[in-house]
C-alpha cells in the first residue's frame, strides 16, 4: 500500500539548460506566426530549424542520431520553456515526440539513421496514419491493406483526420498486411513516403475553420520492406506504444499553454470589471495543477522505462476535462456579447471539443482505464 509515487525531478544540468534556453528565447523573439495556412507552416518550419541549429531539439535522443544524449527531463525543460515563452510551438511534434522515440524503441539502426535527423530540423515532417472512415475509435478495424509483392508492400486504402498530412513527407501508418486477419492480429506498422505515386491528400476544414487535417487516399502505394517498423503482424503493439509517447511531453506543452490562456482570461476579467469569478477560475487553476502533476508522474515513469500500460489514459482524460472546462468557464464569464463574436475565446471553445475526440476519445480512454488499470474484461460494449 502506498499513496506516493515517483514524480519528475530536474537535475542541476537541467536547471542550467533552463537558464540558457530562457535567455536564448528572450533574444530570439519571433512573435506570432502568420494566420494564413501556408505562410504559417513556412514560418513554423523555419522556427523549428532555428531551434535545432541552436541545439535545443532532440535533447533526449542519442548523439549519433543528432540528439543531445540527455534525459527526458531535459526535454521537459525545453517543452516548458518554449511554451512559457509563448513562442510558436514545434510544427514537427508528431515526428519529434512520437516517431523518434518509436524508432528508438522499435526501429532498425538504418531506420534511425535515415529518419531521425531530418525530423529534428523540420526538414521532413511527419503525420500519423491511424484513423480510417471505418476505424475511428475502433482502431483495430483498420482495413487499409498491404499486399506483399517481392521486397515491398503495396498499400491501398484510406486514412482520415490525418493532421498535417498536406505538408508531411512521411506517414507513420497502421495497415492490415495479413490476408484474412481480423482485429489486432495481422496489422503492420509502416512508414509511407507521402511523395509516392498513388498518394492523394485532400485537406478538410474543421468546425473551427482550421485547415488542420486531411483525408489521405492510398492507391497501390509501394512501401519498401526496409520501411516496415518492427515485425510484420506486430503493428498493434507498436501503434499502442506510439499513442503512449504522445501523452508526456505533448500534454506538458498543452498544460502550459492552457495556463497562459487562463492567465489571459483573468487579465481580461479584471480589465472588464467582471465580479465573482474567483471560484470558477480557482477550480480550473486547481485542475491545471493536477494535470501538471499527472504529466510529471507520467514523464518520470517514461524516463525510468516503467510506464504502466493504460496509465497515460488518465492524462488524456484529465487534459480533455481541463481544456473543456477552461473555455466553458471563459464562455460563461465573458458574457453573452463576447459569446457572439468570432474571437480567440469562441474559437478555442470550438477547438476544445476536439480534445475529447482526437488521439482516442474519452470513451476509449475510459475503456482502457477499466480494462488495463482495473483489470475489468469484457466492458467494451
Amino acid at each position: 500500500m502506498t499513496t506516493l509515487v515517483p514524480t519528475l525531478r530536474f537535475t542541476d544540468e537541467d536547471q542550467v539548460l533552463r537558464t540558457r534556453l530562457r535567455l536564448w528565447l528572450q533574444e530570439h523573439e519571433v512573435g506570432e506566426p502568420p494566420r494564413e495556412h501556408h505562410a504559417r507552416n513556412t514560418a513554423l518550419i523555419a522556427w523549428q530549424r532555428t531551434l535545432h541549429e541552436a541545439g535545443f531539439i532532440g535533447l533526449s535522443l542519442p548523439r549519433e542520431y543528432g540528439g543531445a544524449g540527455r534525459t527526458l527531463s531535459a526535454e521537459a525543460v525545453f517543452a516548458e520553456e518554449l511554451a512559457a515563452s509563448r513562442m510558436p510551438e514545434l510544427i514537427n511534434r508528431v515526428g519529434l515526440f512520437t516517431v523518434a522515440p518509436l524508432l528508438m524503441d522499435f526501429g532498425t539502426p538504418e531506420q534511425r539513421r535515415r529518419f531521425i535527423s531530418p525530423i529534428l530540423g523540420g526538414d521532413e515532417l511527419w503525420c500519423q496514419g491511424f484513423s480510417e472512415p471505418g476505424a475511428g475509435s475502433d482502431l483495430a478495424a483498420v482495413s487499409t491493406r498491404g499486399r506483399r509483392e517481392a521486397e515491398s508492400l503495396v498499400i491501398t486504402g484510406q486514412k482520415v483526420w490525418t493532421s498535417r498530412a498536406d505538408i508531411s513527407r512521411w506517414c507513420a501508418a497502421l495497415i492490415r498486411s495479413e490476408p484474412g486477419s481480423t482485429r489486432h492480429q495481422g496489422l503492420t506498422f509502416v512508414i509511407i513516403d507521402m511523395h509516392s505515386p498513388g498518394v492523394l491528400v485532400r485537406p478538410m476544414y474543421t468546425m473551427a475553420r482550421d485547415e488542420h487535417f486531411s483525408e489521405v487516399f492510398l492507391d497501390e502505394v509501394q512501401v519498401q520492406a526496409q520501411n516496415i517498423v518492427g515485425s510484420p503482424g506486430d503493428g498493434w503493439r507498436i501503434a499502442m506504444a506510439m499513442l503512449s509517447y504522445e501523452r508526456g511531453l505533448f500534454t506538458l506543452e498543452r498544460q502550459i499553454r492552457l495556463q497562459h490562456r487562463l492567465d489571459d482570461l483573468v487579465e481580461r476579467l479584471q480589465l472588464c470589471g467582471v465580479n465573482d469569478w474567483y471560484h470558477d477560475i480557482g477550480r480550473v487553476q486547481a485542475l491545471l495543477e493536477l494535470l501538471r502533476a499527472q504529466v510529471y508522474r507520467t514523464l518520470a515513469a517514461q524516463q525510468s522505462g516503467r510506464t504502466q500500460p493504460g496509465s497515460t489514459s488518465i492524462d488524456k482524460l484529465l487534459l480533455a476535462r481541463v481544456y473543456q472546462e477552461l473555455f466553458s468557464v471563459a464562455h460563461e464569464l465573458l458574457g453573452p456579447n463576447a459569446a457572439l463574436e468570432d474571437t480567440e475565446w469562441t474559437h478555442d471553445l470550438l477547438v476544445s471539443r476536439s480534445v475529447s475526440i482526437y488521439s482516442g476519445t474519452s470513451e476509449i480512454q475510459r475503456n482502457v482505464i477499466a480494462s488495463q488499470l482495473l483489470g475489468i474484461r469484457g466492458a467494451m460494449r
Binding site: Q259, H279, A286, E289, L290, L317, I376, R377
Partner: protein, 363 residues
C-alpha cells in the same frame, strides 16, 4: 524515502484496521458516541499522537510525504476527527509553544501524550478573499466556529489561515455548544466568541504557518484515502455483483464511471506526490501552490468518488450497514474544513493571482 513512508503507512493502516472496524464505526455513528478509552489506547500505542511531532519533541519526524501517507491511512480507516485534530493540531501546537518557552504548554504536552489532557480544534475565521462571497478560507463564519472536541476536552486549538490559538477550557472567551452533526460520533460542536476575539493569544510566524501547512497536507491525504477506499470497495463490488447474468463491472456504463473515479483518485495521487517532492526539495513556492490546489481538489474529488460509489452500489450503497455513507460524511467534512467548494476554489484563484503567473520553472 518513499519506501520508508510506505512501510509506515502500511503498518499504521493494519493497526488502525484492527481497531476501527466498520461495525464499531457504524455503532458510534448511530449512537453519536465517540470512541471508548480502550480503543483510543490502542491507537495511542501505535504512535498516533506523535505522528506530526518533530523528533526533538518526541515524535517520529515525519516529513510532508509521511504526513500525507498517514493522512491517507486515516481517510481509509476513518480515524475519528477529534483524534486527527489532536495529532495534527493540538499536540504540535503545544510542542511549538513549549519550544517558545511556555512551561504550561510543555506540561500540557506531556499530559496530552499520556492521554491525560485532551483537546480539539475549531476552525477560526480568516479574512475572506475578494470574490469569495464572504466564505472564510478555513470554513468558519465569523459568528460561530465549527469545532470537533473529545468528550473531556480541556484544551481547544483554533486554526485558520496562517494563525492559531490554544485555549484551556472552560474559557471565559469562548462559549461551546454540542450540535447534532451530519457526521455523528465526532464531537461536533459550535464555538462562539464571548466578547472580543482579540483577547485570545493568537500565534503567528513561520513555525505556526508551517504547522498549519502540515495539518493541511494531512487533511488532503485524508481526503485521498477516503476516495481511494471508496473506489476500491466499488471495484470489488462491481466485479462480484451480478445482474442480467454478468458482473456489473462488465457493463460499459458502470466501467466508465469506475474509470472516471480512477482518474480522480490517480490525479490526486500525482498531486500529492508532487507536493511531497517539492516540500522535500524546499521548493515552498510549488508546495504552497499544489497544497492550495489540493484544498479544493482533494475534498471535491473525494466527494465525487463517494457519490459515484454510492450510485454504483445501488440500493446496497444507500443502506446504513454497508457504511459508504461514513466516507461520504467524512468527504463533506473535509470539504467544509477547506472553506467549502466555493471558498476553497476562490482561495486557489486568490493565491494564483497574488503569486504571479509564470508557469515554467518546472513548477
Amino acid at each position: 524515502m518513499i519506501a520508508d513512508i510506505e512501510a509506515i503507512e502500511d503498518g499504521l493502516d493494519r493497526a488502525l484496521s484492527s481497531v476501527l472496524s466498520l461495525p464499531l464505526l457504524l455503532e458510534h455513528a448511530a449512537r453519536d458516541q465517540q470512541m471508548n478509552v480502550a480503543a483510543e489506547d490502542v491507537v495511542r500505542r501505535v504512535g498516533w499522537f506523535v505522528v506530526a511531532l518533530e523528533e526533538s519533541d518526541g515524535g517520529i519526524g515525519l516529513d510532508a510525504g509521511g504526513l500525507i501517507s498517514v493522512g491517507a491511512a486515516a481517510g481509509r480507516r476513518l480515524v475519528p476527527i477529534p483524534l486527527r485534530e489532536e495529532a495534527v493540531a493540538v499536540i504540535p501546537l503545544l510542542a511549538l509553544l513549549a519550544r517558545r518557552g511556555d512551561h504550561q504548554a510543555a506540561a500540557w504536552l506531556a499530559e496530552a501524550l499520556e492521554g491525560h489532557t485532551r483537546g480539539g480544534t475549531a476552525l477560526a475565521p480568516t479574512p475572506a478573499p475578494h470574490g469569495a462571497n464572504g466564505v472564510a478560507r478555513d470554513g468558519a463564519s465569523t459568528s460561530t466556529l465549527p469545532a470537533w472536541l473529545p468528550p473531556d476536552a480541556s484544551l481547544i486549538a483554533l486554526v485558520g489561515g496562517d494563525r492559531a490559538a490554544i485555549e484551556s477550557l472552560p474559557s471565559p472567551a469562548l462559549a461551546i455548544a454540542a450540535v447534532a452533526a451530519l457526521d455523528p460520533g465526532q464531537g461536533f460542536s459550535e464555538v462562539s466568541f464571548v466578547g472580543d476575539e482579540s483577547k485570545l493569544r493568537w500565534l503567528e510566524g513561520p513555525d505556526v504557518s508551517l504547522l498549519l501547512r502540515r495539518r493541511r497536507a494531512f487533511l488532503v491525504g485524508e481526503a485521498f484515502g477516503c476516495a481511494e477506499k471508496c473506489l476500491e470497495r466499488t471495484v470489488e463490488y462491481a466485479r462480484n455483483r451480478e445482474q442480467f447474468g454478468r458482473p456489473l463491472a462488465t457493463f460499459q456504463a458502470v466501467a466508465h464511471q469506475l474509470a472516471d473515479m480512477t482518474m480522480q483518485v490517480e490525479s490526486l495521487r500525482s498531486a500529492l506526490s508532487r507536493l511531497d517532492e517539492s516540500w522535500r526539495e524546499n521548493d515552498t513556492e510549488t508546495a504552497d501552490k499544489v497544497l492550495i490546489a489540493l484544498g479544493w481538489a482533494a475534498p471535491a474529488f473525494a466527494r465525487s468518488v463517494c457519490e459515484a460509489a454510492i450510485q454504483l452500489h445501488g440500493g446496497t450503497g444507500f443502506t446504513w450497514e454497508y457504511g459508504l455513507h461514513l466516507h461520504y460524511r467524512r468527504a463533506l467534512q473535509l470539504e467544509a474544513a477547506f472553506g467549502g467548494v466555493r471558498g476553497s476554489a476562490a482561495a486557489v484563484a486568490q493565491h494564483h493571482v497574488a503569486t504571479g503567473r509564470r508557469p515554467a520553472d518546472g513548477k
